[in-house]
Symmetry: C2
Subunit: 252 residues, 2 copies
DNA sequence: CGTGCGCTTGATAATGGTCAAGACGCGTGG
DNA sequence: CCACGCGTCTTGACCATTATCAAGCGCACG
């Protein structure tokens, strides 16, 4: 099945570059992000065994939906993913954006059902990590167990940061903070910290930050007028990093 | 050290009731909440071994502070705890309230340092669970490993609910939702779902919900005028559960 | 019996939402 | 290749919700 997806992707004209389909955790250039722990190469080989790499998603396709049976967590290899939940009254709440090297789907463990949906913001390559295998492997590989506890803990602290942002910060601060977050995550992947393309729409940004599209747009305009950011549709250039930090009201 | 705290608590005149000091997980009436998984009684005995029960806290005392070395997670046995972080500009963000049977401190795993502070809202008895022991035990006890993955996942989904609340809901909806949350958690402990005493101040409620004290107070007044809630300082009585649900805008 | 803190209530102000219109960009089809 | 149309983004005018500021109440505690 997963093989078929990759086949059909090829039939539709995608060039399966060697990088995308033949990587393993040992040679993946993202492994310092995805597996920050120094796993022994033996361990990495074992982890490799259980990971499935055959899930290229097209823009708009779902990786999973709220309520789906929980089977696996997922690592983003390329592209980007938006996670969101649907509220009681049918509205959508974006709960996170996931970039290469980042792991999502851990919210499904508690009820054995995904608590949110995940869809591709652009074409995305994904590593699927079956949770049952991960559990078994964790039991015999303390560093892996530790790593996953840490990953989940990281998700909690990240959520707390967002909670604080939503609870205490102005529209300017929220948007500036998101730009800084994306910048930092880009830098971690050895990409430019000052120039990048936003994979998500203004609606998604607003939704994530608890703001309307109009407000997001106005904040971008303001930042341009202040000459701390250059915005050309989805292309962002940070002109004055300190200025953006000042707007976000962060010390670090 | 933990023994000393309990000693000093006794010196200061606390009566160590049998219930507080001689429980074990096997006979703790909270174990259906705290350990929802059906651990075998052997397993529970092993867990008992590592749990330390000598941390009665007085109102205002800290269980841990942001930046402290992370050693343990904690279960509330009685009383209530408020978790909060301090923002860059020195303000406080309440990230959660914890009641008997609930577990906190898992945000410290990712950096080996507590990411938030936790203080007692009233006298509280706490079980301390050293994380290193928990990890070791988890490796040989699959149901315990699973349970902790689930607990952390639960924390993530709870945070997502709060994120949605802060991002999408009005002041009325936020306060009503908190009242329902407390009511539900009370019911889980076989306490009244309609009458309870709030352990936290209006400031804490507002802080948690991203509102000012004044707004919280006004919402309570409005709910009283609507005759769906009776508020006498910290004593709450839900007069019309459906009415509160309607105000919170939840279907369930 | 005062003093202070927590809570409530009122008046006013500001931030961001809503509604509306127009610009821009992109894909499709003539 | 250009025109059309739709979806996304921007900008403006106005409005609503909630924050801010201010005052007063009541209970607990010294």
């Amino acid at each position: 099945m997963t093989i078929h997806i990759s086949d059909s992707a090829q039939r539709e004209g995608f060039k399966p570059c060697a990088h995308d389909y033949q990587v393993n955790c040992g040679n993946c250039r993202l492994n310092s992000i995805c597996l920050p722990l120094a796993l022994e190469s033996d361990d990495i080989a074992q982890l490799d065994e259980i990971i499935q790499r055959s899930k290229p998603l097209q823009k708009g396709q779902h990786l999973y939906r709220e309520g789906d049976d929980f089977q696996s967590v997922f690592a983003v290899r390329s592209g980007s993913i938006k996670a969101y939940k649907t509220t009681d009254d049918g509205r959508e709440q974006v709960t996170g954006f996931y970039f290469p090297g980042e792991i999502l789907g851990m919210d499904g463990i508690s009820k054995n059902q995904h608590a949110s949906s995940a869809k591709a913001l652009e074409t995305a390559a994904i590593c699927e990590i079956p949770f049952a295998s991960l559990e078994k492997l964790s039991a015999v590989m303390p560093s892996l167990q530790r790593h996953f506890f840490q990953l989940m803990s990281r998700e909690i602290t990240d959520d707390q940061v967002l909670i604080t942002l939503l609870s205490k910060n102005s529209a300017d601060e929220r948007v500036a903070a998101l730009m800084l977050s994306i910048s930092t995550r880009n830098a971690r992947r050895k990409l430019s910290a000052t120039q990048f393309r936003l994979p998500m729409s203004r609606v998604d940004i607003g939704n994530y930050l608890g703001l309307t599209v109009e407000t997001v747009s106005r904040v971008f305009s303001r930042m341009q007028k202040m000459e701390i950011l250059k915005v050309d549709n989805k292309e962002i250039e940070i002109l004055d990093l300190e200025g953006v930090r000042a707007m976000a009201n962060v010390t670090s």
